[in-house]
Amino acid sequence: MENITLFINGKSVSCPRGSSLLEAAELNGIKIPRLCYHSELKPLGACRLCLVEDEKTGRILASCVMPAAPNMAILTDTPRINRHRRNIVRLMMAEHPESCIVCNKGNRCQLRQIAAQLGLGQTGLYPMPNYKPLEQANPFIIRDLSKCVLCGKCIRADHELVLAGAIDYNFRGFKSRPLTLHDLPLEQSNCTFCGTCVSICPTGALAPKNTAHAGTPEREAPSVCGFCGVGCSLSMGVIGEQVVEINPSDSKDSVNGATLCVRGHFAHDFLNAGQRLTQPMIRREDKLMQASWDEALDHAATRLMEIKKTFGPQSIGFLGSSKCSNEENYLFQKIARTVFETNNVDNGGYLSGRSGLGPIDSKTGGGWRVSPLANLEKAESIIVIGADPGHTTPVVDYYIRRAAKKGVPLIIVDPRKTDLTPFSTVWLRIQPERDVKLINCLAALLWKRFGHDSIFIDRFTEGFASYSEGLSSFNRERLCVEAGVDMSALERTTDLLKGKRIAFVVGHGILQQRNAVRAMEAIFNLMLMTGSLGSDAGGLYALARENNQAGAWDMGSAPDVLPGRQHLDDSRQRQRFERAWNTRLSPDQGLNTIRMIMEAEKGNLKALYIMGENPLRSLPQHERVLKALENLELLVVQDILETETSTMADVVLPGAGFCEKSGSYTNMEGRIQCVDPVVSPPLGARADWEILNILSERLGLPSRYNTIGKIRAEIVQHVPGYAGLDHGKNTVWISNNSQRRLFNREGQGEPIAFSPVVFAEDSPQNEDYPFTAIVGSKRYHLGSGTRTSHSRRIRNLGKNGHAEISPADGLELNLADGDKVRIHSQCGSIVREIMLEKGLEKGLVYLPAGFNGNDVMKLIPLTPFEDRHSTGLKTCRIRLEKLQSVT
């Protein structure tokens, strides 16, 4: 961009054309006081603290809204300006209440800071505080609008960054305040408790509600959120060894900017839960007894080796964690593969839909992996399919809302009204799990109307001829009806998409459904046909539920791949690792998470080492999982919290939370972020990589990993995309090593193949179970909710996972809000209260996961995804039985 030159305080400086005076000064190291300016928000010019004087005309200007012009000369610090500034701050202080001393914003209050800078103590004005009732019924945010200085930052953050539309200015003059619709409390408004406004509010008008009054943090340290796959950058406020507050970091190129979500902002209090594990334990005479680290690790190592010796390598399983770091997952699978010679290694990512992405990974040589979320705002069009990112990965939702507001056509494919449907250009209200039909119809219509990208197809793909033949071979109208969508809506969608590249945001409605693989193939075909791959204007964004889902897979913590997602049946890769690790590797796939449990059920699996997973909560059919775990000769659980699973263990090893240890995590975009510990683990607990290192020594693994750097160096050596980790930077991106022509700079390499057009069978109807339940997420719980259910704030919210049904079904079954029902499926039953939800169609029931011990999983049969009879983890057939309320 072109630069211009001007004079600030007599010094010649330059800045890009279009900067405001305030930004020009800032760029040149001159700080102008401000309250209402924020670099990510549109300037408002409300507080008038940023005044500067035009040297030539003597005019006083608000520098945040005044564009810098060539040869302008301004002064930022004259007596005249300072007099104005002091008066403004005095007026603000006169209107301010005296509860400053116990204000939760403490020393972060910018009004106080500015007053101090301007040397203001007493205002000398008659105080006329503008008292408003304090709002603090919700467990997250305290609103004390008597402290509001009307800078409008909260409103702009709410409207421009997270687009929740929860608050706006109401009234004017002295009465003017940011209010919710009908002035209801926040919990009855559109507010998602993302807390973005809280962090951005310069005063104590909006403050986090602490579970205990903690005071101002003593120090702040950077970290990365440990919940979902977005991987938001955080700044953690710490007192002693306790994290007491979280704000978005002010790093310029973080994925989240100034935003966060309710989990990242407020649910970290699980770290201080009383259920943290702080002592190794060994089961003795059927009771878990405290033990020393030496005893516990010796016991685990000896028993594991004995079992291997007696029952062979395939009798042991290793269940690692999509929440643990890359380093930990690498070491974990290395122990499994070298010491125990087994590929029975997996992590929770299996449950969140790895199977659907595997084929895409192979087809593109991993080339699809790097997809910066920031590109969503540059997309030519967006299709959100089977995803409600406002609940699973809220920051992704903000990106999509911002894109839609800018005018990017937004197509939503979902049977339910989601948080995004109000922003959509078209909402294709599909029947559950008929996505394959719909996508193929859409592709066929686009093809018929020449909406394909023939240049891209010719250059980078193969097999289009037979694919397009497939597209002409079915009756579009009929299929469209079967998918539950109006042909006219589909035609409108086609008109919108024609000639555009598409960014696909794919959620668990696709990734966890029974037809995940076919649905992903259909989507991928459509991507190829529209030239949407390998471009900023399109792309594939697979939502990752957990922070290191992508990384755990990269590290080879999966039964079918080695580090770098190299397939076990690729003998060259296998040999490479055999040499590096000095071991023999079996080419046969190991057991995945569900198969491990099933083999334990049958008595074939004898020992299970679990690191940071809670299968008794996350897997279907808890009673079967329980039996299977009881069947084991040895269960070792390494975790941070006492969980359903850890209480059954023979050996318990207390690990560390995400901000209590070093490690790197790979987010859903392909961004690898390294973090240092912010606090120490609770006394008695240890970083998981340290535990693995000590254990591996006892197991006789020759390499020693006394520092995280040693593990990282090995990763850099063996995992090609991770070479950048070497350079000591905190954030690097996976490097694209795909050999496909599309991703090759010289245009060399193989084309990417279209998959044939195939359809999936609809799930069978069942008269006895007339409803289809959709299992999904609410933003307050992550996944199965092990950690979030230990957050006191989340518990205090008092949500209990109501079953949502349509008002029409409510009428028919005589069910009203709050009525209790027993929900039966073919494999179990649970009890829930009912909530009528206008956004649901008749026949559908929405069941949020994570609540009440995640008991919704009792309704779903335990079958591996690859099984022909798998129902997936997304839907099941149910019936509802009204329970008489006991009064």
Binding site: H159, G165, I167, D168, N170, F171, S189
Partner: protein, 159 residues
């Protein structure tokens, strides 16, 4: 107009009429205010859906302008002048008289939605002080008997 009998068909007709305009919010709200005497709070979300803006933004606009009201007003809105000229000519006792006759305080609306009592600064007809307006009609040179007559003329029994 009582809150119970909001004519939803009429409301959606107004919304439909303005939906496609570019700066449609203010004219739309004006028309609703005109037609209903107030903007039914229940209509905010419907308007927001149609215009694709946040409901809370609409509420912000409504509460910003004195011309919009979220509370239903009476059939007749009295604006009694409290400007200087009227004050000098005894406007205060005129207001007091109206308050007792209607049993309403400033800003209130009667239960039968016949009258709303408001005050305003200078109606711009100082020569006729003391003054008031009933909806859009001016009444000047007010005296207690004249006030009684005007109120009686607009009362329910008279209709």
């Amino acid at each position: 107009m009582t809150p119970k009998d909001i004519d939803w068909t009429r409301l959606s007709a107004i919304i439909d009429k303005h939906k496609a305009e570019r700066w449609s919010l203010i004219p739309l709200l004006q028309e609703i205010q005109e037609a209903f005497g107030f903007i039914p709070p229940e209509s905010i979300e419907i308007i927001a859906d149609a215009l694709k803006i946040f409901p809370v933004e609409i509420q912000g606009v409504i509460t910003f302008y004195a011309g919009f009201s979220l509370l239903p007003k009476g059939k007749y809105v009295l604006k009694v002048c409290r400007g200087t000229a009227c004050h000098v000519k005894g406007g205060r006792s005129i207001l007091r008289l109206i308050k007792t006759q209607l049993g309403l305080e400033e800003g209130e609306t009667g239960k039968d939605y016949q009258f709303t009592l408001e005050t305003t600064a200078c109606l711009g007809a100082c020569a006729l002080a003391p003054t008031m307006m009933v909806n859009r009609t001016y009444f000047g040179k007010l005296s207690p008997p004249k006030v009684t007559a005007v109120l009686a003329h607009h009362s329910k029994d008279k209709e």
